[in-house]
């Protein structure tokens, strides 16, 4: 059953045109020209109950804008987003009751109060029945190991501790959907792992639908079987992570360290993809040529000091998708400049 439906969802921002420099600043004050930025362009997708979907894209691709529309705090310019059958911005509060949101870069906890006080307040805001609250809190406390800091004021927590508290907060009211916007940003490896494990568990056992916007692809690989890739406001890939990896097929990368720089050398059956002097990266097709053969022919001509293989990462795949879509990894597109409602050429 579809829990989230986006149909040709579009969000435009209109900004006064800005001119550089001091006199430009004066002009900025007087101008009536607008720059129309399309942060999200006719995006459509459907997400089913219980899915875990990764939402990937470079900075400024439109990830956060989409999440904000789905949570009801931004009104779409056109198109429609339906969450559990409702339009989020029309029924913001009803929608809010059923979703949990974690913003990696913002805190929902009360900065000056102990963590437990924020939880306590949350209980009243969401009308959580006392027994549900107690059991959810106990579970989160256990799984996220919050016992040793739950009585500390939020301002005294480490970033990792705070993020765990934020996650617990977002789950206390048994939301059907959990939106996560960069939940592991700035965390160290162990803290990231802990959060990923927890999210996997929540998705599997509690059947909470997860929408994870991130540009840390490891987050997504570990938690989400399905991935949506967005660039410049458009969805460029929607499908399974494994299928995405297969897109690169049997391609592999071999990294060779030479004893001394042999110059630019080409290998039959492999492409030189990166040349760093003594270290060169070759991409080849494992089904067409064996790595051993490749190495042997190389070592015959030049002294090789070290060799390593690079696994295909989701990053490579996504880079390829971007290349294929003929776009650069770029900020949102500037549409047109409008002056007094009329389009002018720039």
């Amino acid at each position: 059953m579809a829990i989230i439906e986006a149909r040709v969802l579009t969000k435009e921002f209109r900004q006064h045109r800005r001119f550089p420099g001091f006199f430009g600043a004066v002009r900025t004050l007087l101008t009536r020209e607008y720059v129309l930025r399309r942060a999200v362009k006719e995006v459509s997708f459907t997400i089913d109950q219980g899915e875990a979907v990764g939402y990937v894209g470079p900075n400024g691709a439109g990830k956060s804008t989409t999440v904000k529309m789905l949570t009801g705090i931004l009104v779409p310019t056109s198109g429609e987003a339906k969450v559990m059958g409702r339009l989020p911005h029309r029924s913001r509060r009803e929608n809010a009751r059923r979703i949990g949101v974690v913003f990696g870069q913002r805190s929902q906890l009360w900065w000056d109060l102990p963590v437990i006080d924020s939880f306590d307040l949350h209980r009243y805001v969401y009308n959580i029945p006392a027994d549900r609250y107690r059991s959810n809190l106990a579970e989160c406390e256990e799984l996220l190991r919050m016992r040793d800091f739950i009585d500390f004021p939020v301002r005294q927590l480490s970033l990792g501790q705070r993020m765990r508290a934020e996650l617990a907060l977002a789950l206390l009211h048994d939301p059907d959907i959990l939106f996560l916007d960069e939940p592991t940003i700035g965390l160290d490896v162990t803290a990231k792992d802990r959060i990923r494990e927890f999210l996997k568990m929540i998705n599997r056992e509690r059947r909470v639908t997860i929408i994870l916007a991130s540009h840390d692809l490891k987050d997504i690989e570990e938690i989400c079987p399905r991935i949506l890739v967005i660039n410049r406001g458009t969805i460029v890939y929607d499908g399974e992570v494994t299928a995405l990896k297969e897109k690169l097929g049997t391609q592999s990368t071999i990294v060779v360290d030479f004893a001394h720089d042999p110059g630019e050398i080409q290998l039959a059956g492999a492409d030189l993809v990166l040349d760093e002097g003594v270290r060169k990266h070759y991409r080849f097709d494992r089904s067409a040529i064996s790595a051993v053969k490749l190495l042997a022919s190389l070592a015959e001509r030049h002294p090789v000091r070290d060799v390593s293989f690079q696994e295909t990462t989701i990053e490579d795949v996504i880079r390829k998708i971007y290349e294929a879509s003929g776009q650069e990894l770029a900020e949102v597109e500037e549409l047109d400049t409008w002056s007094r409602g009329r389009a002018v050429t720039r």
Partner: protein, 262 residues
Amino acid sequence: MTTYFHFFAKSFKSNLAYRAQVWLSILASLLAIVSQVAIWRALLASGPVNGIALPDMITYVILNSAIYVVLMYEMFEEVDDRLRTGDIAVDLIKPMRYPLYLLADQLGNTAYRLAFYVAPTVFVAALLFGLTAPASPLHAAAFVMAMVIATILSFAFGYLIALLAFHFLTTLHFSWTFLGLVIMFSGSFLPLWFFPAGWADVARALPFQFLGFVPAAIYMGKMPVTEIAPTLAVGLMWIVLLMCAAALMWAVSMRRLVVQGG
């Protein structure tokens, strides 16, 4: 409703985190009173002006310093800040009515300031300079009502300015204008008694007098008993008017909202 009561309580409790703030604020309030009392001592040295004597003005100054502290219009700064950083998103993803949340939050601050700044400041100032008692029990009761009106009206103003920020992403220009009007027309610095006739009429026609002059004048019995009820009714009318304007603006604002930052 319990939700909002808990916001009130949390906001009150949050303030307790910074204890040094209490002492500094009391000191600042007292300094403001001392300097104003000094001015009025000089001005009224040769006897009452317009029937207002020095003890009256001292009471007026102390009352207005207290009123100033409980007013809530400066909350637009908080909303402004949350809009600028985009933290408003965190408030809006909760299933609560934003204006009621703001009111509860502000009332928490006000209650805190009432208990920890105003009460001690008024007590010390009364010991130092003398504070006259309310004119009568009736005046005392009317004063409390006028204070409630002042508090809610100041909230309505703050909320309206905050909503303007939803459109313009900053409140700087509105708040400057507003604060200018408050200083001029609330009478908190210069009571309306001393205004030239024309300006006094302007001040009486505006809602700002409820944020300073009206409560103090009622307390001191300088307002005829028959005028108290109609005056308070006008204050209530202003509240209703501003809140209606705010409700209309809220509907528009939500469409225009830009949540800044990633």
